[in-house]
C-alpha cells in the first residue's frame, strides 16, 4: 500500500543461503516499496517479513546487522571523499575499517587513485561504485539492492555480477530490483515479477532464511 493505492498483494517468497532473487516489474509497480519493506524502513499494510524465523520488527537492530541496503540514492556525501565516505558509512553500519582496508575495497570497485577526491567531483557512475564498496567491507548476510545497475558501465555491471556471485558462493543472499539480465554463476536463482496492483485478499508475506 502506498497512500491509498494498493501496489501489490500475495507476494510470497523465501530465500535460503546462496539464494538470489531478482525483482522485476513495470515502473511504479512497487519494487522499491517492497525492498524498503524488506529492510524494515516501511511497514507492510498486511503481512510479515521474517528473518531466520523471527519477525524483523521484533529483531530490531539485530536484523540491521545482517543486511546491507543500497537504495536509489547512493548515500554518498558530496563534501567527503570516497575514503571518508566509505569509512564513515561502514563505521555507522557497525564495521569499522582501517584506511588500508577501505583503500583495498575502493580499488576493487575501480576507484583507485580517486580516493581523495570529494564525491562532488565524481561522476554519477563513480559515486555508485563508491557506494558499492560498502558491500565488500561489511560482510552482511543479505544484500538488498535497488536499481543497482543504473548509470553503470559494462565493466561495473560485470563487477556487480562477480561481487554477487562471490557473495552467494559464500552463503550470502541477495535481492536485486533491476530490469537488466544479470549473469550470476553461483547460487540459486529466483525471479519475482510484480504486476500493477489488482486488489485481492492479501496473503501474509513470508520471508525466511
Amino acid at each position: 500500500m502506498r497512500g491509498e493505492r494498493l501496489l501489490f498483494s500475495d507476494v510470497n517468497f523465501a530465500l535460503s543461503p546462496g539464494g538470489f532473487l531478482q525483482l522485476t516489474g513495470p515502473n511504479g509497480s512497487g519494487k522499491t516499496s517492497l525492498l524498503r519493506i524488506i529492510c524494515g524502513l516501511m511497514k507492510p499494510e498486511r503481512g510479515e517479513i521474517r528473518w531466520q524465523g523471527e519477525q524483523i520488527r521484533s529483531l530490531g537492530e539485530e536484523y540491521f546487522r545482517s543486511i546491507t541496503y543500497l537504495g536509489h540514492r547512493n548515500a554518498v556525501k558530496e563534501e567527503l571523499n570516497s575514503l571518508e565516505n566509505l569509512r564513515i558509512s561502514s563505521g555507522l553500519a557497525g564495521c569499522e575499517l582501517s584506511r588500508a582496508h577501505a583503500q583495498k575495497a575502493l580499488s576493487r570497485v575501480g576507484l583507485a587513485g580517486r580516493e581523495n577526491l570529494p564525491a562532488r567531483f565524481l561522476s554519477e557512475g563513480q559515486r555508485r561504485r563508491s557506494a558499492l564498496a560498502r558491500l565488500i567491507t561489511c560482510s552482511t548476510a543479505l544484500w538488498i539492492l535497488d536499481e543497482v545497475l543504473a548509470s553503470l558501465d559494462h565493466a561495473a555491471v560485470t563487477l556487480i555480477e562477480s561481487l554477487i556471485g562471490e557473495h552467494l558462493s559464500k552463503g550470502g543472499m541477495a535481492i536485486v530490483a533491476t530490469h537488466q539480465e544479470l549473469h550470476i554463476s553461483a547460487g540459486s536463482f529466483q525471479r519475482l515479477e510484480l504486476e500493477p496492483g489488482v486488489p485481492s485478499g492479501a496473503a501474509p508475506m513470508g520471508w525466511t532464511s
Binding site: 524494515g40 516501511m42 547512493n74 548515500a75 558509512s89 563505521g91 575499517l97 570529494p118
Partner: protein, 227 residues
C-alpha cells in the same frame, strides 16, 4: 572488523557531522552572522538610551538566539535525507536514539556554541554589567542545547515537506517559549540585582527532560517521515 559498540557509533556520527560542517563553513557562519546582526540592529535603531537598552537586552539576545537556531535546524536532517544517508542511519545496528543524539550534539556544537561564545561580546552593546554578561553566557549555555533538542523534533517531522522551514517555525517556536521566559528571566534578574538561580535551575531541569525525551521523539518522527 571490530565489534561495534554504541559509543564508537556515536563518535562516528559526531565526527562525521563536524567534518561536514567544516567543509560547509558558509552555512555555519551565516547563522552566526544572522545572530550578531539581529542583536546589533537594536542598539543602532534605538539610539544611546542606556536604560532602555539594558532592559530590553535579555529579550533581544534570547529572541535572536531562538531565530538563529531556527535557521540551522532545517538542515539537521534535510541534507542527509536528500542524498540517502539518513536512510542508512535508520538501518544502523545501534539504537536510533544514539544516532539522533549524536546529530543533535554536532548541530549544537556547530551552530549554537559559537553563538553562546559571542553573546557576552555583543551584550556589551547593551551596556550590561560584567556579572550580567556571565549570567547571559550561562543561561545561553544551558538553554541552547534545549533549543537544539526540541528543534530536532520539528526538523524530523517536517522532513521532506515543501515549505518545511515555515512549518518548523510554527511547530517549534511555541515550544521554545518556556526556554525564552526562563532564559531571558535569568538575565533580567541579574540586571535587577536579584539572584538568577531559580531561573537557571528551571532551565537545567528543562534540559534534562528534553535530553531524555527529545531524541526519542525525534527518532519516532524520522521513522514516520521516511516511511
Amino acid at each position: 572488523m571490530s565489534a561495534p559498540s554504541a559509543f564508537s557509533m556515536f563518535r562516528w556520527i559526531v565526527a562525521r557531522d563536524l567534518t561536514l560542517a567544516w567543509r560547509r563553513r558558509a552555512d555555519v557562519l551565516a547563522t552566526l552572522f544572522f545572530f550578531v546582526i539581529v542583536v546589533s540592529l537594536f542598539p543602532l535603531g534605538i539610539g544611546p538610551e542606556t536604560q532602555l537598552l539594558r532592559s530590553i537586552a535579555p529579550g533581544v539576545v534570547w529572541v535572536a538566539a531562538l531565530l538563529a537556531s531556527m535557521l540551522s535546524l532545517g538542515r539537521v536532517f534535510a541534507n542527509d535525507d536528500q542524498d540517502g544517508t539518513l536512510e542508512q542511519m535508520l538501518l544502523t545496528p545501534q539504537p536510533l536514539y544514539l544516532v539522533v543524539l549524536g546529530k543533535i550534539l554536532a548541530q549544537w556544537l556547530v551552530s549554537e556554541v559559537p553563538l553562546v561564545l559571542i553573546a557576552p561580546l555583543i551584550g556589551l552593546q547593551f551596556d550590561l554589567a560584567s556579572d550580567t554578561l556571565v549570567i547571559l553566557f550561562v543561561s545561553l549555555l544551558i538553554g541552547t542545547p534545549i533549543l537544539s533538542l526540541i528543534g530536532s523534533i520539528g526538523a524530523a517531522l517536517t522532513l521532506g515537506l515543501r515549505g518545511g522551514g515555515v512549518l518548523i517555525a510554527l511547530l517549534i517556536l511555541p515550544l521554545y517559549i518556556p526556554v525564552l521566559i526562563f532564559g531571558a528571566g535569568a538575565v533580567d534578574a541579574s540586571i535587577n540585582g536579584v539572584s538568577s538561580q531559580a531561573n537557571l535551575s528551571l532551565l537545567g531541569a528543562f534540559l534534562v527532560v528534553s535530553l531524555v525525551f527529545a531524541p526519542w521523539a525525534t527518532s519516532a518522527g524520522l521513522r514516520i517521515s521516511l516511511e
